[in-house]
């Protein structure tokens, strides 16, 4: 897999744009999933995941071929997601209603707000509930938890993606789990 990807990367470097389409095919679902779990809606996830691939294409000459391509891609995508989250958070306090944004469903909006009333929570389907709880985490913990449990990456890979020491990654995952535990223990009815 890595050998194939490096071959495609070399082709792209030589100017073969079509080789990049194969790279996108290989990683699209993984990257889209990270973005979806970080941002909470398909519309934004699509936009950011696409942007991540475009950035990868533009900066492909900076990719160190001795390293793992997926790690590099994940790094681009998670950084873009965190930027987007930080940019949009204050917006929700300024205007709760997002007009004319097709695809921005209620979960993307409640993501930034605090607790939902319990009766609202009860109405959520399990999948929406998972997304809701994940999005309430501070973004440092959210990234670590998403990479660990949704992308099923090793702690070592996560540490390379986030460019953080292994110990820091462990701490974030531990705190993320504790934060989720507290969130869920308030409303244990989902189980």
């Amino acid at each position: 897999m890595d050998a194939l990807v490096n071959k495609r990367v070399k082709q792209v470097l030589k100017g073969d744009k079509d080789a990049f389409a194969e790279i996108v095919d290989l990683y699209q679902h993984r990257l889209f999933q990270v973005c979806y779990r970080m941002l909470g809606n398909r519309h934004e996830a699509e936009d950011i995941a696409q942007e991540a691939f475009v950035r990868a294409f533009i900066n492909i000459h900076t990719f160190d071929q001795k390293r793992k391509f997926s790690t590099w891609l994940y790094r681009i995508a998670t950084n873009l997601c965190i930027d987007r989250i930080r940019k949009k958070k204050p917006d929700y306090f300024l205007d709760a209603e997002v007009k004319g944004t097709e695809g921005l469903n209620m979960y993307s909006q409640i993501a930034a707000s605090d607790d939902l009333p319990e009766e609202e929570l009860m109405k959520l389907e399990l999948q929406d509930r998972i997304q809701y709880e994940i999005s309430r985490l501070p973004d440092k913990y959210q990234t670590a938890i998403v990479l660990k449990y949704m992308e099923e990456l090793s702690l070592q890979e996560i540490s390379e993606i986030l460019e953080l020491p292994l110990g820091t990654v462990k701490t974030r995952i531990h705190r993320g789990r504790e934060a989720l535990r507290k969130q869920l223990s308030k409303q244990p009815h989902y189980l």
């Binding site: 100017g15 744009k17 095919d25 889209f32 979806y36 696409q50 475009v54 702690l155 531990h174």
Partner: protein
């Protein structure tokens, strides 16, 4: 909630990370058997993991790759060139150097289209022809650019004709070398020799000065 050491919670997380030693695992298990609170804590953490892992896999829409490809910047025609430059820095520096060098020389060649010649006594100018009349002796070198030379008399020196031709009468005498330069490469060669000569004379002058 409990007075159990922090350490136990750490062990729980190590356990969940799958990075716990055999002895620590035993320590954790024996503690959990004796402590209801920690048991509950461990239970909740396991539930958290199960909860998060319950997230369904999401897939990118089918048109995703196409959309990415459409968003890629259009490659400009010079992009290939700049890529080449980036990959071969030494060669590009050399190429750039050659380009500048040759361009100055070529411009010189093309700019100097005007008729010109070395001022010498005893020569006659007719149109764009330099004439050394019969019986006259011109002492010194003669360089004629973009014009012809007609020699009926004597030239006591070298003759260089650039972009022109020479006509010699039977009475003509040239004591030095004769050179006709009509092509760019000859011109280049001449320039180089000229430059070398100048450098040499500089050295000679230096020696004289000492």
């Amino acid at each position: 909630m409990n007075a159990c050491p922090e350490r136990i919670v750490h062990l729980m997380h190590d356990y969940l990370d799958g990075e716990i030693s055999r002895e620590h695992e035993l320590e954790l298990k024996s503690h959990l058997q004796s402590c209801v609170d920690c048991q509950a804590h461990m239970h909740e953490l396991s539930d958290v993991v199960a909860f998060v892992k319950g997230a369904a896999h999401v897939e990118a829409p089918s048109y995703f790759t196409e959309s990415v490809m459409a968003r890629l910047p259009k490659e400009k025609s010079h992009a290939g060139v700049s890529r080449w430059f980036r990959q071969h820095p030494v060669l590009s520096a050399a190429a750039l150097f050659l380009l500048f060098m040759s361009s100055t020389i070529f411009t010189n060649f093309n700019d100097e289209q005007q008729f010109s010649f070395t001022k010498q006594e005893n020569v006659i100018i007719e149109g764009e022809t330099v004439i050394i009349p019969k019986g006259q002796v011109v002492k010194g070198d003669l360089v004629v650019k973009n014009g012809d030379v007609q020699i009926d008399g004597e030239l006591d020196g070298d003759l260089t004709i650039i972009n022109g031709s020479k006509y010699m009468a039977s009475t003509a005498v040239i004591t030095g070398k004769t050179e006709e330069i009509n092509q760019v490469f000859d011109w280049l060669w001449f320039k180089i020799k000229d430059g070398a000569k100048e450098v040499l004379t500089l050295f000679e002058r230096d020696e004289e000065a000492e």
